[in-house]
């Protein structure tokens, strides 16, 4: 794209002299102004307008109503920071925060490591390269709900395959939906099944931009394959890594579909909110209890949580191969 623009410039350069003839006519000068100055902004404006309507406006609206005691079926009253102070003392909210962070860590750490290894393997010369590379993306095109429904069956307490396999080793059946850690693990596997391949492809794309001569030079110096991976691939992947980690952070902290489907579409997230995420908490407050103000405040706290989470991860990832 940028190439085309550059190529176009020389042909445009002689234009101004020609333009002088039309200057006096004000209508034309308006069109010229439109053409040269306004057109680029107009052309990019649909995105910003859509963002304004569907992004910024709800954001502001949510902030505004987070200061109200807003019951859908009742009254709307100003409470100032009342919702926020109530929430900081709300054990259910904090439980949702802990659940969300725990599932994020349990899901994301193995996922990124696995994606890296997978990408490294896919980066080698293998047979049916295209087929195999596309294959790892397959889980992504299945619907989240379908994935969650199948995994929910696998993790059934009484008739699930996972408990059946565990029973070969003499383990007692695990109630995946009733116990906190098992429920987190179950949901983390759903997320990983779906997203590992996607991240692997992104890593693969990043790996292919690394100049081959770096590896050649390293080989000549006698660096092992493993050493090359850790000393060249990983540091060179830093920008990709930042993208993947931030993406996973945002996705992980707004987790909703998998845990909701895991409890039959009930946003309570287990009988005792064992795996209720902050998103589900917001949904429950807003669309089950109809406490819109409280839900709005929770949404803003989630936003802050994501900002902080992203910042921490960004700082951590930036230190990879910290010699630069």
């Amino acid at each position: 794209m940028s190439l085309h623009v550059d190529a176009g410039r020389p042909t445009r350069a002689p234009m101004p002299p020609g333009r002088r003839h039309v200057r006096p006519r004000s209508g034309r000068s308006f069109l010229t102004w439109l053409d040269l100055k306004a057109a680029p902004y107009l052309l990019v404006s649909p995105y910003y307008l859509l963002f304004l309507i569907f992004g910024l406006f709800p954001l502001g609206f949510t902030l505004y109503y987070s200061f109200f005691d807003y019951d859908l079926t009742g009254t709307v009253e100003w409470t100032g920071l009342g919702n926020y102070t109530a929430m900081l003392g709300d054990a259910d909210f904090w439980k949702a925060v802990v659940n969300t962070l725990a599932m994020f860590v349990i899901a994301t750490v193995p996922q990124i490591l696995l994606a890296l290894l997978l990408a490294n393997a896919l980066n080698k010369r293998i047979k049916f390269q295209l087929f195999v590379r596309l294959g790892v993306l397959l889980p992504l095109v299945t619907s989240v709900v379908a994935v969650a429904v199948v995994f929910t069956q696998l993790y059934g307490r009484d008739w699930g395959v996972v408990n059946w396999i565990l029973s070969w080793f003499g383990a007692d059946p695990i109630d995946w939906k009733a116990q906190r850690l098992p429920s987190w693990i179950a949901i983390a596997t759903m997320i990983d099944w779906r997203w590992t391949g996607y991240n692997a492809i992104i890593f693969l794309a990043g790996m292919q931009t690394i100049p081959k001569d770096l590896y050649e030079a390293a080989s000549i110096d006698g660096a092992s394959r493993r050493r090359q991976f850790w000393q060249i691939t990983i540091p060179m992947l830093r920008p990709t890594m930042i993208f993947v980690v931030l993406n996973s952070t945002i996705g992980g902290l707004t987790l909703f579909s998998e845990p909701t489907t895991f409890y039959n579409g009930n946003v309570h997230g287990g009988s005792d909110s064992q795996f209720q995420t902050v998103s589900m908490f917001i949904f429950e407050q807003g669309f089950r209890e109809f406490d819109y103000g409280y839900a709005s405040a929770a949404a803003w706290l989630l936003f802050l949580l994501i900002l902080v989470g992203s910042a921490i991860n960004f700082l951590l990832i930036r230190r990879i191969g910290g010699n630069k």
Binding site: L42, L49, I53, S271, F287
Partner: protein, 450 residues
Amino acid sequence: MFNNSRRGRLLAVAAVAALALGVTTACGSDDKPADNAAGGGSTAAAGPVTITLQTFGGGKNFGYKEAVDKWNAEHKDITIKYDNLTDQFEQVYWPQMIQWLQSGAGAGDVVGIDEGGMGLAKAHPEWWADLGEFGLQNRKADFADWKWENGVTADGKLFGLGTDVGGMSLCYRRDLFEKAGLPADRDEVSKLWPTWDDFVKVAHKFQDKIKDTKFVDGTNTLYNVVLVQEAAKNGNVSYFDKDNNLIVDKNPAVKSAYDFAQKISQEGLTAKLRNFTPEWNTGMKKSQFATLGCPSWMLGAVSGDGGAGPDFKGKWDVAAVPGGGGNWGGSWLAVPKQSKHPKEAAQVLDYLTGKDAEVSVFNFAGNMPSNVQAQQDPAVQGAKNEYFNDAPVGDIFAKSASALQPVFLGVKHAQVKNAVESVVSAIDDGSVPYANGWKKLVDDAVKAAG
């Protein structure tokens, strides 16, 4: 090069035009629904009208399948589209419905409302079409006073007519009872458990013999059964008193019901399945439990394909419930104001709550009609349910139906019930220790009501 700049200009103009269009359509969309409604109204007279009937419930749910098929075969001008949205009322159906009603779009033309939602529905007359306008005031004689009164809004407008009443019985698996050396005949089974204490004793006897089937499904079903029985002894109130104050911690009925739920769980008599979940449905198909608290509408939940299904036909039977009668559940049909065809919707509602349709529901699903004419119909009074080993369900439910007392349910009943039942399930699946259960139940109820 001239071409180039001209194209740029054209693009710019096009962009402005597109923008302007975008803005006008965005602004215009506000007025659109009104136009559509008017348009819809005028076409209503011309072409065939589709009336969407939205309900909830497991198995055969409202049991309208045969009644709707019959109507659609006989009427060319009005077609009923029967849409059972979900198994779960408090958690899924009702919150969604409230959003639709409040936003003015999305609800069907005729919608089912469980007793737990009626408090809120009555408090919002603006949600509903006035059925009085369509001549349904003349249906008053068809219903018991309380069933009729509950379908009238706070400002005296008729908005809903009753479909069914709960009544109460206990369903049991006769084949498993035989296997456990217990009597299988329904009269003898009824004699086994005049009280809930007797019921627990029988449960232990059963459990001593049979290991892979639990006696009870989980805590929730019997919790609700005991709650309505006890509520009847405590002024017919459950979570709210008649002034809509939360009385969860003060009403002895709630504590008794909770204590019973805790007892059966603690003594290992439950299969730890939460009712109206896929696991619970599978539990019926895999014989994970041998008894089930059965208001009349529960018979359809068991016999339907989603429940135990045809494989268990004749293996279930119906006996008397320990501790005397009670009324759990029962629903109403109403026409949302947003319906584009309120007249036709009212016509359909009139038919579905009428005698013939209600008799068909009873025979198809087992839901006891609240329509008095239907209750007295010989086809109901003498009905036997083939699925439940020819149990004389007409005799069991119809006789007590006229004497049923309604339990008062507050405006926020559905929310509180949802919160409370989560705790009642949580003590069963072990995520909340028995010792903390009652306190958590009260705390969560206060939160949900607040």
